[in-house]
């Protein structure tokens, strides 16, 4: 399952860090952060609950980049 989320992040490297952190979260099969369009495109693993996974993703991202925001 693929979902797109609007995000807010200030610098390009921070976007990369978010992408890297989000990719480590269980339940996320593949994730792309597009800095230019300020979007996060998440491909969830089979049987994962997007809502629960995204909560983890958000806290993982906040850890690497405090000023980021994901609009769930």
């Amino acid at each position: 399952m693929k979902k797109t989320y609007r995000i807010e992040v200030d610098c390009a490297n921070c976007a990369n860090k978010m992408e890297f952190a989000a990719s480590k979260v269980p339940g996320v099969e593949q994730v792309t952060v597009n800095f230019m369009t300020q979007k996060m495109i998440v491909n969830f693993a089979e049987g994962a609950d997007p809502e629960a996974v995204m909560k983890e993703v958000l806290s993982a991202c906040k850890k690497v980049e405090r000023d980021c925001e994901i609009f769930l």
Partner: protein
């Protein structure tokens, strides 16, 4: 400017003014009388003064650094900047008395961040504005009798089959057919084509065009969510879920770069003094080496490098969009720049996909008269060939002249016209009737005619080559495409002359739709690993090939959902010249990407070397860092301007 940016700018301004004032403050104005001259204590009051601008401009960096430590993010830019500047302040207090450096570095770091945020935000809005085709409202006519009763509604709320009014100057909100009214439509936002398109009753109008001259009453054929404008917006907004190799390279590089520089700094601070102390018997000069190490930390942020690459691709995609070329992500722009083989599906891309009578041969009658007979004979058929003959006949057809019609199974018809027996069809039909016919050497479909058993010549019907096609192919070669290939279902005799006329390198003729995938797979095996194979189709029946090729380009895709879905690059109109333009746009975009990578790496590398040698100080390091970012961002925006390509 956002509020965040305004606040940052104010902080930068205040800190800068304070810095200038402090610079002209007399040295001895603030001194502790009891302190020995040139001792740390004597330098303390000045430090406190300099801490004011430092904290004004850098408090959030320090805060984030502290939070980074709590989250065990050692290689966080904030943390590194904090270490570098605090280190410089401590060195100033203990040794040099120079406090200007730390707040200045912080100041320039913030200027860099601010510029990045501003430039990126601005260019993002500009590029999005290029694709600003979203209509705001529609005028819905609920009661056709009362024209004035049109009410303004959101396009989402208009059901299929409604009647809407489109006034001059307004965007067409939904796809539909013109019921009444005539106008010229500006399709530039969709196709990049500046010549307006005339529409009259019965014509299709596509959402996203701008109505220029007259009032149109349009019967909608699609809901907003299904309309052309929604499809395109969806495509543009959800582009680039696949990243290009360059972007992946940079993000991998950034992950390694920062730790490497930090360890380098650590080594620089510890190893040389130890070597001097232990092996050379020299004084260790700790402070000098620590200063060099701190300079390293200032250059450790990879942001300049990281920002310029996606920005360049984004600008390239925006520039292509402006020209009517929709690219579904940066990876496709990169693939396109390596295009070595371009495969065309003939019908609809190199040719118009419309059949037309191109010649009448060996007719004893006047051309017009023969065409009239043929048109009358074919008047009951719905076949495209029959339709093209009817279109070619300029006289009005009087169907009462047609008597008995006899279809001869797939070979043609024998019809009674004005009491005469007219046969129209293939050479086989002529054989059956015992009429000897003349072969034709022209490409295309041949319809022979016999009147009362006597041969009356033949009509040549062929698909027209697009007028732009020959130039399009020669331009492809100029832009570095090694080989062009044409795939067609036509017989060899018809395909070969077209290919020769266009200067195509290789032709595969007589193909069934399924064979095309196999041919493309064969061609994929012949290409060198560095080049890519692009397939150009009109989006009708060729979705499997579009998907199979390295790069699928759909042409004339306005309104064709399947093509937009299957292709990687969508040409909004059907001009084949756009293919070479797209390649040139992609090549320049990649050139800018490489320039930016090289520029950023070279400047960072030079700063690291000069810093290690003790030639570059922190000022130079931060100037270089911010400067290279500004240059890279400005360079990236060049990718947006595609008019002259």
């Amino acid at each position: 400017m956002t509020r965040k940016q305004k606040k940052a700018l104010v902080r930068i301004g205040i800190a800068a003014v304070l810095m200038i004032l402090l610079h002209f403050l007399p040295e001895d104005l603030l001194s502790i009388p009891s302190a020995a001259p040139d001792s740390p204590l004597s330098r303390l009051p000045r430090l406190l003064l300099y801490l004011i601008p430092y904290l004004i401009v850098g408090w959030d960096v320090l805060r984030n650094a502290f939070r980074g430590i709590l989250n065990r993010q050692i290689f966080d830019e904030n943390f590194l900047m904090a270490v570098a500047t605090l280190g410089a302040l401590v060195l100033g207090l203990l040794k040099t008395g120079d406090y200007e450096e730390a707040p200045a570095v912080m100041l320039f770091y913030q200027i860099g961040e601010w510029f990045q945020s501003y430039a990126v935000g601005k260019s993002r809005r500009n590029i999005s504005a290029l694709m600003d085709i979203r209509p705001d409202s529609a005028w819905l006519v609920s009661d056709p009798a009362a024209e004035a009763g049109a009410e303004q509604v959101s396009p989402e709320d208009v059901p299929v089959g409604s009647l809407i009014l489109i006034r001059p100057g307004e965007k067409v909100p939904l796809d539909g057919l013109v019921e009444s009214g005539e106008s010229a439509l500006n399709t530039a936002a969709l196709t990049g084509e500046s010549v307006p398109r005339d529409v009259r009753p019965g014509d299709e109008v596509l959402s996203g065009c701008v109505n220029m001259t007259g009032l149109l009453r349009v019967r909608t054929t699609r809901e907003f969510g299904e309309s052309t404008v929604s499809k395109i917006l969806d495509l543009v907004e959800n582009a680039s879920s696949l990243k290009s190799r360059s972007e992946n390279f940079i993000s991998r590089f950034a992950r390694v770069y920062t730790p490497a520089v930090v360890f380098g700094a650590l080594a620089l601070a510890i190893l040389p003094p130890l070597v001097r102390l232990i092996f050379l018997g020299l004084p260790p000069e700790w402070d000098g080496w620590i200063y060099r190490a701190l300079t390293f930390l200032v250059i450790s942020c990879p942001c300049a490098l990281v920002i310029s690459i996606p920005l360049t691709f984004f600008a390239g995609i925006g520039g292509a969009g402006k020209a009517g070329i929709l690219v579904k992500g940066s990876v496709w722009l990169e693939e396109l720049s390596h295009a070595g083989i371009v495969v065309f599906d003939k019908t609809g891309t190199l040719t118009l996909g419309r059949f037309e009578v191109t010649a009448v041969h060996h007719s004893p009658l006047a051309e017009e008269e023969l065409l009239e007979f043929a048109a009358l004979a074919e008047s009951s058929s719905s076949h495209p060939i029959a339709a093209s003959i009817r279109d070619a006949c300029s006289r009005p057809l009087d169907l009462s002249r047609v008597g008995k019609v006899e279809e001869i199974g797939g070979n043609g018809v024998v019809v009674e016209i004005d009491g005469r027996q007219v046969a129209a069809g293939s050479a086989r039909l002529m054989d059956r009737l015992g009429v000897s016919c003349l072969e034709c050497h022209h490409p295309g479909t041949i319809v022979h005619l016999a009147i009362d058993g006597a041969y009356a010549g033949h009509i040549v019907i062929s698909d027209q080559i697009r007028p732009e096609a020959p130039e399009a192919l020669s331009r492809l070669k100029q832009s570095g495409v090694r080989k062009t290939v044409m795939l067609t279902g036509d017989r060899e005799a018809a395909a070969r002359p077209v290919a020769e006329k266009l200067g195509i390198d290789e032709v595969f003729s007589g193909l069934l739709p399924g064979d095309k995938v196999a041919r493309v797979e064969e061609l994929l095996k012949t290409k060198s690993p560095r080049e890519t194979l692009a397939f150009v189709g009109d989006g009708i029946n060729d979705a499997p090939v579009l998907t199979r090729a390295d790069l699928g380009i759909a042409m004339g895709a306005m309104g064709s959902d399947a093509a937009i879905e299957a292709a990687d690059i969508v040409l909004m109109d059907d001009n084949p010249l756009k293919i070479s333009k797209a390649i040139r746009i992609s090549r320049r975009c990649m050139r800018i990407v490489r320039q930016n990578i090289a520029l950023a790496l070279a400047v960072k590398g030079a700063c690291l070397i000069l810093g290690a040698l003790g030639i570059a100080n922190m000022w130079l390091a931060i100037f270089a860092d911010v400067g290279v970012m500004i240059l890279a961002v400005l360079n990236a925006l060049r990718a947006l301007f595609t008019d002259r390509l």
